[in-house]
Symmetry: C2
Amino acid sequence: MPDAKPFVLQCPLPVGNTGFVQLAHGGGGKLMHDLLEQMVLPLLGNPILESRHDGAVLAINGTRLAFTTDSYVVQPLFFPGGDIGTLAVNGTINDLAMCGARPLYLSAALILEEGLPLDTLSRVLASMRDAAKATGVQFVTGDTKVVDKGSGDQIFVNTAGIGVIEHQLTIAPSGARPGDAILLSGDVGRHGIAIMAVRQGLEFETTIESDCAPVVQPVLALLDAGFEVHCLRDLTRGGLATALIEIAETARLSIAIDESLIPVMEDVQGACEILGFDPLYLANEGRFVVFLPASRAADALKMLRAHSVSSGAVQIGNVGENAAARVTLRSRIGTLRVLEMLTGEQLPRIC
Amino acid sequence: MPDAKPFVLQCPLPVGNTGFVQLAHGGGGKLMHDLLEQMVLPLLGNPILESRHDGAVLAINGTRLAFTTDSYVVQPLFFPGGDIGTLAVNGTINDLAMCGARPLYLSAALILEEGLPLDTLSRVLASMRDAAKATGVQFVTGDTKVVDKGSGDQIFVNTAGIGVIEHQLTIAPSGARPGDAILLSGDVGRHGIAIMAVRQGLEFETTIESDCAPVVQPVLALLDAGFEVHCLRDLTRGGLATALIEIAETARLSIAIDESLIPVMEDVQGACEILGFDPLYLANEGRFVVFLPASRAADALKMLRAHSVSSGAVQIGNVGENAAARVTLRSRIGTLRVLEMLTGEQLPRIC
């Protein structure tokens, strides 16, 4: 074997760093943020990657495209409201939608563990087919790798996606503006609790289903109607709180939200109280926030509510005038609290 | 957990099928071919996916783009001549080049195993940076997931890539024509033996290095010079033999090649004889074949040889007139043999 290439970390080690990858490095919180900031971006970074968007916006021969990728490692593979296949399609097309793009094409790359039942693979592929069909996207390229038993975990799916941007807006975390209204497309925390309930064998009065769904239609409806959308963000790993903190930091502005305005299903709230989770940090797979001028908030909400996936849309807060780069939550009892990224891992392998 | 969706396999089970994923399903041979033909394509297929190309060719607003993806699960992570990072960049840009595209943008999706030393991750990322820089491509989007210890194997890397097609040719396996010359860009088998040597602790007089390299320059040189290229294919999993069999089957034509014309390094040949491998089936990561009209073969070879990565280019055979959809090899002693796809797995996790 050749000598190891000399490589020197050119920056301080991330908070909580032990020199080894921890589960929390994939959790969407502070450790993942630090890993990206302090290791990935210094090595691979460029202005497009550094925009910290859900996907990249590229201009090729005058056409604006969005390009994104995600790997899916969720356990269990099948859960109420979806499976790794629906997640792998909806997650990636939602990232394209968050760039304001119309999703067109997907790739599918499978890493299979030796011994996986072919029937399980078929079920996952069938879910991918159905989810792609539901949004009118096509799988156009792919790859299959097999690793020996014990070197993987049943099936990991990577999808990358390409979408086309058919408007002139620049939609990005840096695009949020003082005075913007912040709209949330529906209740939060369901995906996280649905996964947790299966893992822990928890039972509720009714089964809590993941919110996993494509959000392309309401987003394109807003854009086609000419709403001046400044920023879109889906609320996956790290949940609503982390998404807003990242936007506040990237745009260097202050965000104020009101806890009493944030919808949480009663069973989800109950599970969170028992398990010690905060629903604002739980992953969602069919929820997003929209930043746009407050004067258009009421009309935009009306349009969002006309689509079933965002029928519970509400305004949860506003962007303030100062550049404090932080998110303040007014609690149900009226106290104010600054939201922080989580350092540890709430729920590993949620997507 | 919800009931399993009913799913019925609508086709006979693949050859050698046990109902479970086997290592050979990822080996590039017969089992992988059958898995794609009989399970993936019936579920996810469409005309673009069914072109069986190294990537998809898409037309968006009049611009032709290539789009491709591969996951990399090679073990060991570091080997003579490269590592999983160089492989993940060169493999994907080579697939774009095989579509006749100029590679522009890459995504990077990492699946890390808990406990991976951050220093190992840094070395892989540094290799990805260097390989991207060498071909002038940018990483523009990415993803990081972490799986618990024992559910992965150090690091898996997925890259997807986008390239632009700047000519009017249709380059595809179906594009090979009777009368075409078949050019091979250099000696075969080095990547496979380099990996095997590290795994098995084999020593040779000189270290056999992987041929891992970008092949973009000689390919674009041919295209820029106006050569009427019909088909390009890189010789990764399954090697030269499998690539030619796939082209013969897709284009429904007969291919004749001459073993004595196929360059194999002496040490590679020796290792193959000891280990019982056929170099024609070993993976390469910087080798490709070109199909073009025989009248232009000499000029094309001259151009290929001007680039160091293809300085050993030779003509190894021709496309015949009949539609037998098979590859015939004339051996060094003059006998004729029809090449078949391998059913088992020669070398798992080669890329």
